[in-house]
Amino acid sequence: MTTQAHMGADPTVQRVITARINGRDVTRAVDTRTTLADWLRDELDLVSVHLGCEHGVCGACTVLLDGQSVRACLLLAVQADGHDVETVESLSGDPNDLHPIQQAFHEEHGLQCGFCTPAMVLRTKEILEERRERTDEEVRQEISGILCRCTGYQNIVNAVQCAARKLYAGSPAPIASGTGTGGSTDPHPGA
């Protein structure tokens, strides 16, 4: 990744950038052609950033840039200079004390192989910032930019709805489970 490090003096080839990564300022020299996805994963060891198609189709590398979901493979690391990047490592790393969204994916079996899970969890975090109830159909549309190759979408939808209930608990807004397809609230579907 740093084959051009010796050319660091040329700002068209290498730059020193500072980005806020999961709440901490990180300053590094980056090759200008390094994608944000490769930088996060290979240089910063944030291995939740999964590289699937590497050309913007699968969504596995989704991160939050200034709070908005983006495909990290379609950004250059240098473009994160001065911006805020969040990966799923910003949630809990303690299996005994999971973030409510992680807990919901656990309870609802919202993952099979886990490859799309970091992206799905971050996208869930983003959409649940907007505190409103969604039908299952709306949830499906909201997560349609991320492919689950296990095709385990039903449990992901269930997990998103479960996470909404957890996060909105005690909120004055009424929380309904989905009215679209499926919508099981059984914590052990298909068992």
Binding site: Q4, P11, T12, V13, R15, T32, R33, T34, T35, D38, L51, C53, E54, H55, G56, G59, T62, L65, Q68, S69, V70, R71, C73, L74, L75, L76, V78, Q79, R123, Q141, E142, S144, G145, I146
Partner: protein, 293 residues
Amino acid sequence: MKPPRFAYYDPASVAEAVELKSRFGTDALVLAGGQSLMQDLNTRRTRPDALLDINRITSLQELQVGPTHLELGALVRQHRLETDPAVRRAVPLLTGVTHHIGHVENRHRGTVGGSMAQADPWAELPTAAVTLDAEMVIEGPAGRRVEAARDFFTGRGTTSIAPDELLVAVRFPLTPADAGWGFVEVARREGDRAMAAAAAQLRLDDAGRVASIAIGLTSITDHPVRAAETEAQLLGQVPTADAVAAAARAVEQQVDRADDVHATLGYRRHLAITVTQRAVLAAVQRAQEGDRP
């Protein structure tokens, strides 16, 4: 799947960007939202000597509602067209088409100017621009010029932007209060490229006849076009379902694409007629209901 080597420039002003474009000519590519160009770099379908990242040019991020036009800076993100009430009030068709652009992750980053300059035959915003007679504001070494959208798109992925020029803004005429709009797209899956799409905007007179109408078509030829014959047939007519269905048949002859993996020519002709019909009927319904925010 890694970008090839290039010299990276991130100009801070339009003047600086134009200077770089003049210097590099066709050897430089402009990076706006990157939702198409980064794909092409990662897959190495393109290998520019220089990449001009315009994202630092804050003046290109402005959105202004003027007395006659909505002016969108080239870097206005597509997601803003969906969410900014000012856009929905000024040009509701824009809000309507934007949802069909890729996925929200793409629209968070993708830009108005990038979509226009990319000029993909299946792209929604170019079709909106041609339908609504938008104007492209282009800056070059000699200064600014303004080009009509219908002259701007010249073919698949090609526009009238010269190698030393930069698209800086797109101006959409404000939608009249009594106008109705419709947009209908057929794609295989949510977020996929349009196999065919139609945008329509029209006004009705007091007798319910079509007083003005514009229809734009996506993905039926190598660039967005107006359905001139269908427009002419409906102008001055009461747009009944039968009249619209009959007029929509005229678009069949405009479909000019060979069979491809997405659709055969015959199927695309069928889709073109269907989306035209539905988009016009949606516009008629909105014009009748006065569905404006």
